[in-house]
């Protein structure tokens, strides 16, 4: 039951089907990579699972640890333990990172509980150090004026602080130079363990050199067309996505 379980999911955007008959199970403790060319529906899948209203789920099921998430509000899904690391994180002017993460943690407490401020800052600084984020960033507005790399590190910081059961990481490697990629990967690898399942969405194999997946799935035209071990990613890198397209066409 401890898994992110997606069955026969069909997602529409502005009335058009983008994800079709998509089925995938990510057990807790595993890292799965979802690869595919641009437009294959990877990001649509991610945003829809996180409850974005522009994406209509018209068929299928999705559950987190046995809990149906399709009927839940965006914030309920998040509190149920699903974390989404966005490809393009929003800028939130006027809301500092410290206040923002504190509000997110507070939302996970019961009504009579309060966050211990000293412990909170201790943990926050520890995670920031891990991700090599300057401590001054706590006072800065969320993502506002951040470089691409800073935004991605800020996503991982939030993930580290909120300790989800599952994380969907949408193109976390895009826009990162090699140094930033190493830092981010190190952060993610530190979090890896039996209590966390990760779905890693990426276009390139490069990220998988640093975060080695247990399984690799290839998405094409809204569905998974191949699954395999980490060697599948290398095969893809070598032969390109056209190879998958041809294979699909043959089938």
């Amino acid at each position: 039951m401890s898994s992110l379980d997606i069955r026969n999911l069909e997602i529409h955007v502005e009335g058009k089907p983008i994800v079709k008959d998509f089925t995938l199970n990510v057990p807790k403790g595993e890292v799965h990579a979802l690869m595919g060319p641009n437009g294959s529906g990877k990001s649509t899948l991610a945003k829809a699972l996180a409850g974005h209203e522009d994406y209509q789920i018209v068929a299928g099921e999705a559950s987190l640890n046995g809990q149906n998430i399709l009927k839940m509000e965006v914030d309920e899904i998040a509190r149920a333990g699903l974390f989404m690391a966005f490809q393009y994180p929003s800028e939130i002017p006027g809301v500092s990172i410290a206040n923002f993460i504190r509000a997110a943690l507070t939302a996970r407490l019961a009504d009579n509980e309060e966050l211990d401020a000293a412990r909170y800052y201790r943990r926050l600084y520890e995670k920031m150090d891990l991700l090599k984020i300057d401590r001054k960033f706590t006072a800065r507005s969320v993502n506002e004026g951040f470089s691409g790399g800073e935004k991605k590190r800020c996503e991982i910081l939030q993930m580290a602080m909120l300790q989800p059961h599952f994380a969907i990481m949408d193109e976390t490697d895009s826009g990162l130079d090699i140094d930033a990629l190493k830092i981010v990967s190190h952060g993610v690898n530190t979090m890896r363990g039996p209590d966390l399942g990760i779905l890693l969405i990426t276009h390139y194999q490069r990220l998988l050199d640093y975060i080695v997946p247990d399984k690799v799935h290839v998405m094409w035209d809204g569905r998974i067309v191949r699954s395999g071990g980490k060697e599948l990613a290398l095969e893809l890198e070598e032969k390109g996505y056209d190879w998958v397209k041809e294979e699909v066409a043959v089938v």
Partner: protein, 459 residues
């Protein structure tokens, strides 16, 4: 303060409406040892007030504003204060506890004063109630008093202020003096029907640095009042002036705040205005870049609820070359409230190398709230960088989604975004005590249940 005592007092003295010439005559007589120039000035202003017409819905300078409720007949200049009124005013006046000097006015009468330190006074700084300064520093005052008025449509009310003002704070900072802690003036209004005309005059001489905060409040929540204030800032060459005005009159008050800034060569002025109170407030700001290299920022935040109207008219006049001015007016509107922002950047022919910006951002937190923008430019020089922007909309959908996706509840997420919207103005307050008070006042405003039943938005 008990209402009964107020009523008795008003009827006993049968105070005249501020629009009657008896009221003006009584006012002149009440001024002790007033110099002739002041009497002449006031008489001239009274004549202007009497001859100017009231604004009508057709007046261009009042476009989109309500003009139906501007009658002043029901207001009087208040006479003596009761001891309880004085006590209430003093009790209200503890928002900022680290200051260089403090004055508390109740109905334009000084009820408390904390002097500036002796070392500042001895070095030439003047921190005095205007009524006293007129006699003691007449020749200095006369050069500045009412010499630069905003003239943005409220000329009639401006003239009434000129005729009837009696007090306020006068701050003169001599050449090169830098004062770190702020001077704070509290202006309290007490009793039904009372009219006040608080005046603030800041003169910062060359190279001086100073900070003043004006706080406008009512001692009672339900008294119907009229406030017509004026704050004039004269920043000499290279002077740095920071001015903040917190308008928190009660919701029955009709208020005018007619402010001006004049910046000489290389002067640097920053103003922050926060509008929370009044059922209808007209806020005029005329900023004049009169010396080359000067720089002025005007920030404003208004948070109207219920059926409050905030009517803002601004003018940035660039007279000298190589100046920069920046205006940011933000409004967060709840319930059936209304705002008007009408701003103009005027760059004169001689003002080459001008940088001038003007931004109005309106956040509609309810479908019945109404935001009006009239952002204007008049550019007569060609080597300028000039822009204005006006946006009106609800909370950003994607930002809200991002917060929700972190597990923050919708209510809390909306609150975070709304306070985030204020931050761009609040970050310039430079005073943590004041920020905390403002946050709690605004928090209170938001948790009053609006008619739609949802505390933050009706979505």
């Amino acid at each position: 303060m008990s209402n009964a005592s107020t009523l008795e007092r008003v009827s006993a003295k049968a105070a005249k409406s501020i629009t009657s010439s008896e009221a003006f005559q009584n006012h002149l007589e009440s001024l002790e040892n007033a110099p002739k120039w002041l009497i002449d000035l006031k008489t001239e202003q009274w004549e202007q007030f009497s001859s100017l017409p009231m604004p009508t819905p057709k007046s261009e300078a009042w476009r989109f504003a309500r003009t139906g409720n501007l009658s002043l007949d029901k207001y009087q200049l208040s006479s003596d204060l009761t001891p309880s009124e004085i006590e209430d005013a003093q009790k209200n006046s503890h928002l900022i506890e680290s200051y260089s000097g403090k004055m508390v006015f109740a109905n334009d009468q000084l009820v408390e004063k904390k002097e500036a330190t002796a070392s500042l006074s001895q070095a030439g700084l003047i921190w005095a109630p205007l009524a006293k300064a007129i006699n003691e520093h007449g020749s200095l005052l006369r050069k500045f008093l009412l010499t630069f008025t905003p003239d943005l449509g409220s000329e009639k009310f401006q003239a009434l202020h000129g005729a009837l003002f009696s007090n306020g704070s006068f701050l003169y900072v001599p050449v090169g003096m830098e004062v770190t802690l702020p001077f704070v003036a509290y202006h309290e209004i007490c009793g039904h029907g009372a009219a006040v005309f608080p005046h603030t005059l800041i003169i910062a001489d060359a190279g001086a640095k100073v900070h003043l905060v004006d706080i406008f409040q009512s001692t009672g929540a339900n008294t119907k009042n009229f406030a017509c204030g004026m704050a004039s800032i004269f920043a000499g060459a290279g002077a740095q002036v920071s001015y903040q005005a917190i308008q928190e009159w009660n919701l029955e008050t009709l208020s005018f705040h007619l402010n001006s800034v004049s910046a000489e060569r290389d002067a640097d002025v920053q103003t922050v205005t926060v509008n929370l109170g009044s059922h209808q407030t007209r806020s005029e700001q005329h900023t004049c870049l009169s010396g080359p290299g000067s720089n002025v920022d005007n920030f404003s935040l208004s948070v109207p609820t219920g059926n409050q109207e905030v009517d803002q008219r601004t003018l940035q006049t660039h007279k000298a070359p190589s100046c920069r001015s920046n205006m940011l007016y933000k409004n967060a509107l709840m319930d059936d409230s209304r705002t008007i922002f009408s701003g103009l950047i005027k760059v004169e022919e001689s003002a080459q190398q001008t940088d001038a910006y003007q931004t109005n951002r309106n956040l509609l937190l309810n479908g019945s709230a109404e935001a009006n923008s009239l952002p204007g430019l008049e550019i007569l020089a060609n080597d300028v960088k000039c822009s204005h922007g006006a946006t009106t909309g609800e909370l950003d959908k994607e930002q809200l989604y991002y917060l929700l996706a972190r597990g923050i509840t919708r209510k809390k997420a909306e609150e975070l975004l709304v306070f985030g919207f204020f931050e761009e103005v609040f970050s310039h307050l430079e005073n943590d005590e004041l920020r905390e008070h403002l946050n709690s006042w605004i928090g209170k405003k938001f948790h009053v249940d609006p008619p739609t039943g949802n505390p933050v938005t009706n979505s």
